[in-house]
Each structure stands twice: as C-alpha cells, then as structure tokens.
C-alpha cells in the first residue's frame, strides 16, 4: 500500500482541549491505582515539606489526560485497527493539584516500517500540556502502530 496522506497535516495543530482541573482527589485515586504511596502526592503537610512545596502528581500522571483513541477523529489511521506502540514523554514542570491543564496536539510524523510480521504504519502524535499560566508541563509523543 502506498502511504498516501496530505503532507499539510504534519505539524499542524488539530486539537486544543478545554482546560481540565487537576483535582487532588484525582491524583490520590491515580496513586491508589498504581500502588504509589509517596505522601508528596497525596498528603498536604508532607507535600509542603517536599521538593515542590505542595501536592504534585507523579510524573506519569501526564499521560492520563488523553488516551489516544479520539485522535483518529482528526488524523488518518492507515489501517483497520491500531494499537499503542509506545510513548516518549518529556517531563518539563510538575503538574500541581489545582492546575488547569490544556493539551494541544499535532501529527509529528507518519512512517512505514516492514518487520517480521509485515508492513506497519506508525503515526506519531505529539501533545503538549500547559497549565493556566501557559507553562509547558510535558511533551508526549504517542506512537500508534497500524496494519494496512
């Protein structure tokens, strides 16, 4: 299959989400689900004495805002079904309880790869998370693998 797509989609922001408030309770439930027990994520007093001076989310909380399926409402999928092949995450600033987080996303690259199991098409979508002050919190490259 020739890999056909409009090159104009590369690097063009296709989605900016409405702000989502990071509630301390959501961080707490995330920690419980992962088995995370460090009190700087859940306990106000411990967090105040910690390196960030208040409750922050574990770094990996950054990947929980958008899990990816809906990206393909705006981006070609190149196949019947895709799956999450991996992620590259750069943690820039801690996500704090009370932050209002927005994500803007664009297609970073699209490429084909042929392996033992045949041809695969990779679609890499980059999401940038910012808080209410406009500070970048994280960059996430979502690597989706599709089979034509």
């Amino acid at each position: 299959m020739a890999l056909e797509f409009d090159p104009a989609i590369i690097n063009k922001t296709f989605e900016v989400t409405d702000p989502v408030e990071v509630k301390a309770d959501k961080i707490k439930r995330y920690c419980e689900a992962l088995g995370e027990t460090n009190p700087i994520y859940t306990d106000e007093e411990a967090a105040k004495k910690g390196p960030y001076g208040g409750i922050v989310a574990p770094p990996s909380f950054a990947v929980t805002f958008r899990n990816g399926r809906h990206f393909f409402e705006n981006v070609p999928r190149f196949g019947r079904r895709g799956f999450d092949a991996g992620k590259d995450v750069e943690f820039v600033s801690p996500i704090r309880a009370g932050d209002q987080v927005t994500l803007s996303s664009h297609v970073k690259e699209i490429y084909e790869k042929t392996g033992r199991t045949g041809t695969m098409v990779f679609v890499v979508i980059r999401s940038t998370l910012k808080n209410q002050k406009g500070d970048v919190l994280a960059h996430i490259d979502h690597r989706f693998m599709n089979r034509p």
Binding site: Y30, A33, L34, E36, P58, S60, N67, K87, V89
Partner: protein
C-alpha cells in the same frame, strides 16, 4: 540512591515484584475513563474478541509502573525524572507476577544526568515492555 557522584553505570533499579490482579487493572482503567471505550482492559471476553489472550493492562499503566520504579529509586534525593520512553512489545496480562527493573547505562557529568534502561518482564523472563529514562540531578 544518593548523589550524582555516588551512582555508577551498571547500578540496578529494583527489582520490584508485583502481582497485578484483574481488579487492579479494571480499577486503573475505570479511574482513567478507559473502561467504556476499550473492554480489553476490563473484560476477558471483550479482549478475546479482539484476538488477545484475555484482559490486558493499559499501556499507560505500564508506563506508570516504570516511572514509579525510577521515582522510587530517586526517593528523597535531589533529582527528578525528566524523560521516559516506552515500547509495548508484548501485551501485559493481569493475574501475573510482573518484575519491574532497570540499570544505569550512562552518566553525563556535563549536564548531571543519568540514563537508565527499564523493563517489565513476566514469570518466563520475557520482556513485555521496555523503556529508557533520564534522571536529572540538581546541584
């Protein structure tokens, strides 16, 4: 872990042995709002319909466990996890004991960072999820 000066290439992270139950997996998917969109994270029958052997852990949950390995290692040291990359090689199934571990592969004194390889393996020592991470040490 202590200071940048005291760590060495080859130092290990973990191993952390973790039995992840189906309920824990469902709970994660539910909290993250993934259950409604993908039954493969909550239901064996739905997962089998997709050609999977049964329920699987969300990729983000694996990323979370690998990040936790690194932040547990950092502990109260003056350092932070600044980057992680993951590759989902083989679906991770709940109701298994997972071993999560890593080791330092490089130290860069110029910017006081350490690179680590991290991975999750099953009881057969098969690497299901592999990754690399960067830890930055403050002065």
């Amino acid at each position: 872990m202590s200071s940048f000066e005291e760590i060495n290439i080859g130092d290990t992270l973990g191993p952390l042995e973790l039995f992840v139950s189906k309920d824990q997996c469902r709970n994660y998917a539910k909290i993250m709002g993934m259950g409604e969109i993908a039954g493969r994270f909550t239901d064996d029958a739905a997962a089998r319909k997709e050609g999977l052997p049964g329920m699987i852990l969300p990729g983000n949950m694996s990323l979370g466990l690998l990040s936790k390995l690194v932040t547990d290692w950092i502990g109260s040291s003056n350092a932070a996890l600044t980057r992680i990359s993951t590759t989902y090689r083989v679906p991770v199934q709940p109701d298994h004991t997972l071993t999560i571990q890593g080791f330092i592969t490089n130290k860069n004194p110029a910017d006081r960072t350490a690179e680590v390889d991290v991975w999750i393996e099953n009881e057969e020592a098969e690497r299901l999820v592999t990754g690399t991470a960067t830890v930055a040490f403050r002065k």
